[in-house]
């Protein structure tokens, strides 16, 4: 597991405390019941703080799954892969 992924799993785990690591990897706004607009904003804030990066409001709708966040983080922070 890359450093980025491990940190991302911790971020998701803090916002979705009931999910296992495997469930986090499969998480998306469709499949995860507790994923709503409020958790999206919280998730974005936690990830911005954790990775010291900015997420533009227009990017937020695209970030609807763990996989999407992982790709986004990879783009911004390739050194963590």
């Amino acid at each position: 597991m890359s450093e980025n992924e491990s940190r991302l799993i911790r971020c998701f785990g803090s916002v979705f405390p009931s999910l296992t690591e495997d469930e986090i990897r499969a998480a998306s706004d469709d499949a995860t019941g507790s994923w709503d607009s409020l958790t999206s904003v919280t998730l974005a804030a936690v990830i911005q703080e954790e990775f010291s990066m900015e997420i533009a409001p227009e990017d937020l709708p695209e970030l609807h799954s763990f996989a999407a966040f992982r790709s986004f983080v990879h783009r911004i922070n390739p050194a963590g892969e």
Partner: protein, 579 residues
């Protein structure tokens, strides 16, 4: 605290059956991450409670305060920002920033302030209330250049400051200290424009964390320290008394020893606020006496008790001082310029807060004063704060009169001219009562502590009584020294809390308390909500020695048992308010 740490802290399970700690949060913006930080900070301070936070509607601070204050809770937290006083002072509204609008903004702000003042005054009567005044910078709406403050801008600051000053006069309100917030969260790092516009949450995360930390500290305050033990040479003054003699020690600008004068001035301010101050110095006691005769000392001899000046170990001096004060080590701070002495005391008393006095370090001494203020700071001063040192001296006189601590002789008690006043203060705030019930350890029925809201609820319960007991004798007043809480049901009194200050031992006040209960309520029995604690041995001993009764939970004492064992009581008793 980072947001992820706050979220993880809140994930931790709370013990089953844990009581909730319910906080109402009123603000005009989306509370979002601030709510998370506040919950996490409080959860950290209250590990045995389940912290719950309830919030109001977006954009309606005054309405939220008016609505939410009716909810039963433990505390009320209120965040005011400029845009709550007039939306044009924020950036989410587009109401106009023309110079011609500014007067109207000022007028509307004054109207909002009046409404807030009224709403907060009402809220504080129901709930302990903490308020944070505006923390965010103004947007660029004023026509002056940024380096010049405009008239309206200053007027707005004045209106907010006046509101804060007025609110501090309300007994149930505490205002966040902006100077501290400025230190931990610089103004330029507070405002998140994007988050304000997109999500309605205007704080950057570090600022939200800082404000939450500040407010949680006011909601759940740790008990302030009670006593300061200070060294003399190179601490209270510069110079070694034994080497330079009385005239050689200094604390002034000319000798570049001014910071020692500042330390004296600070310690005198602590003494004035009821903090116990003692000296532990390896010194010749006659020399020390001569030094304290100097008229230019900023900390007079009368503010200090006791002075331990001899060549024994410092830990021995600390032990004797703790005995004299009769306080626990964890409520005391020890300051000495010698790291070795500090280490020796720390080893003997791990619970004492031990601090090395940073002699010669101007900034270090200034920072020490700030640290001491944080350790000793309290929310209010009571009349008893002024009496504390005097009454401890008087206890010394009482002991010096040749009587053992337990069982003062009848002669002394008969001639002490002691009087006791029982008062019932159901209405209003009584800071001393609240302080007494929450910090007394030794003569304490069960160690029960009260939150502010719990205390208020108990006092307003029409079926319950809260009796406070004050005492004085020819040696001086002790102030309010005991408290009894309970309810009378038929001919049985259920006593749910009973505390008495250790300063009041050996005066048979505890017997007078029980006598008063039996007589006032015409009771046959008192049922005690007793619970053994690590520190309430003196209360246990009172029952064992006086009534041959080993206290157990819910034990009872009959009037007959009491009457057959009570020793002669010589107090003059006054009842200020009958139950």
């Amino acid at each position: 605290m980072k947001l992820i740490d706050a979220l993880e802290l809140l994930k931790k399970p709370v013990a089953k059956g844990a009581r909730s700690f319910h906080v109402i949060l009123a603000c005009g913006f989306t509370p979002l991450h601030f709510q998370t930080f506040l919950a996490a900070e409080l959860q950290e301070r209250l590990p045995g409670r389940r912290v719950l936070i309830e919030t109001g509607l977006f954009g309606d601070l005054a309405g939220n305060i008016e609505r939410l204050q009716t909810i039963a809770a433990d505390a009320f937290a209120v965040l005011i920002e400029w845009s709550d006083l007039d939306p044009r002072l924020g950036i989410r509204g587009l109401g106009g920033w023309r110079p011609s609008s500014l007067e109207d903004i000022a007028r509307s702000t004054e109207r909002s302030v009046l409404r807030l003042q009224h709403a907060l005054g009402c809220a504080a009567q129901r709930l302990p209330t903490v308020v944070c005044m505006p923390t965010l910078p103004f947007p660029p709406l004023f026509w002056t250049a940024p380096d010049q403050a405009g008239s309206i801008e200053l007027q707005l600051h004045k209106v907010a400051a006046a509101l804060a000053a007025t609110l501090t006069e309300e007994p149930g309100i505490r205002i966040a200290n902006m100077q501290l917030l400025d230190e931990v969260s610089p103004l330029s790092g507070r405002y998140d424009v994007k988050s304000d516009v997109v999500a309605g949450f205007p704080y950057r995360l570090p600022h939200a964390s800082a404000v939450a930390s500040l407010m949680s500290g006011m909601i759940e305050r740790t008990q302030p320290k009670r006593g300061l033990i200070t060294d003399l040479d190179d601490t209270l003054w510069e110079g070694i008394l034994g080497e330079v003699d009385v005239d050689g020690i200094s604390w002034n600008m000319e000798s570049h020893t001014h910071m020692h004068g500042l330390y004296q001035q600070f310690v005198a301010s602590l003494a004035g606020a009821g903090v116990l101050v003692a000296v532990a110095s390896k010194n010749d006691s006659a020399l020390v006496d001569r030094a304290f005769a100097r008229s230019d000392l900023l900390l007079p001899r009368s503010d200090i008790f006791p002075i331990e000046a001899h060549w024994s170990r410092k830990s021995e001096s600390v032990r004797r001082i703790l005995d004299t004060w009769n306080v626990n080590a964890d409520s005391v701070v020890f300051v000495d310029d010698s790291p070795m002495e500090v280490a020796e005391v720390k080893e003997a008393f791990p619970d004492v807060e031990c601090i090395v006095f940073p002699k010669g370090d101007y900034q270090g001494i200034f920072d020490l004063l700030k640290r001491l203020r944080a350790l000793f700071g309290k929310s209010f001063l009571t009349e008893d704060d002024a009496l504390r040192l005097k009454s401890i001296r008087n206890s010394g006189n009482w002991r010096d009169s040749g009587e053992p601590e337990s069982g003062s002789s009848d002669d002394l008690l008969r001639t002490a001219e002691a009087s006791i006043v029982f008062s019932q203060t159901r209405q209003g705030e009584d800071a001393r009562e609240f302080e007494l019930v929450n910090k007394t350890n030794q003569f304490n029925l069960n160690g029960r502590r009260f939150g502010e809201q719990e205390w208020r609820s108990f006092k307003s319960d029409s079926g319950a009584f809260v009796l406070s007991v004050s005492y004085k004798d020819k040696f001086g007043p002790l102030g309010t020294i005991a408290l009894m809480l309970g309810r009378a049901e038929g001919r049985v009194i259920h006593l749910s809390a009973w505390v008495m200050s250790c300063r009041a031992f050996s005066r048979r006040i505890e017997y007078q308390c029980l006598k008063h209960l039996f007589e006032t309520f015409g009771a046959d029995e008192i049922a005690f909500d007793y619970c053994e604690t690590p520190r309430n041995g003196p209360l246990r001993e009172f029952f064992v020695q006086s009534f041959e009764t080993v206290p157990i939970p819910s034990f009872r004492l009959t009037n007959e048992q009491f009457s057959s064992k009570v020793p002669p009581l010589y107090h003059f008793v006054e009842v200020k308010c009958s139950v």
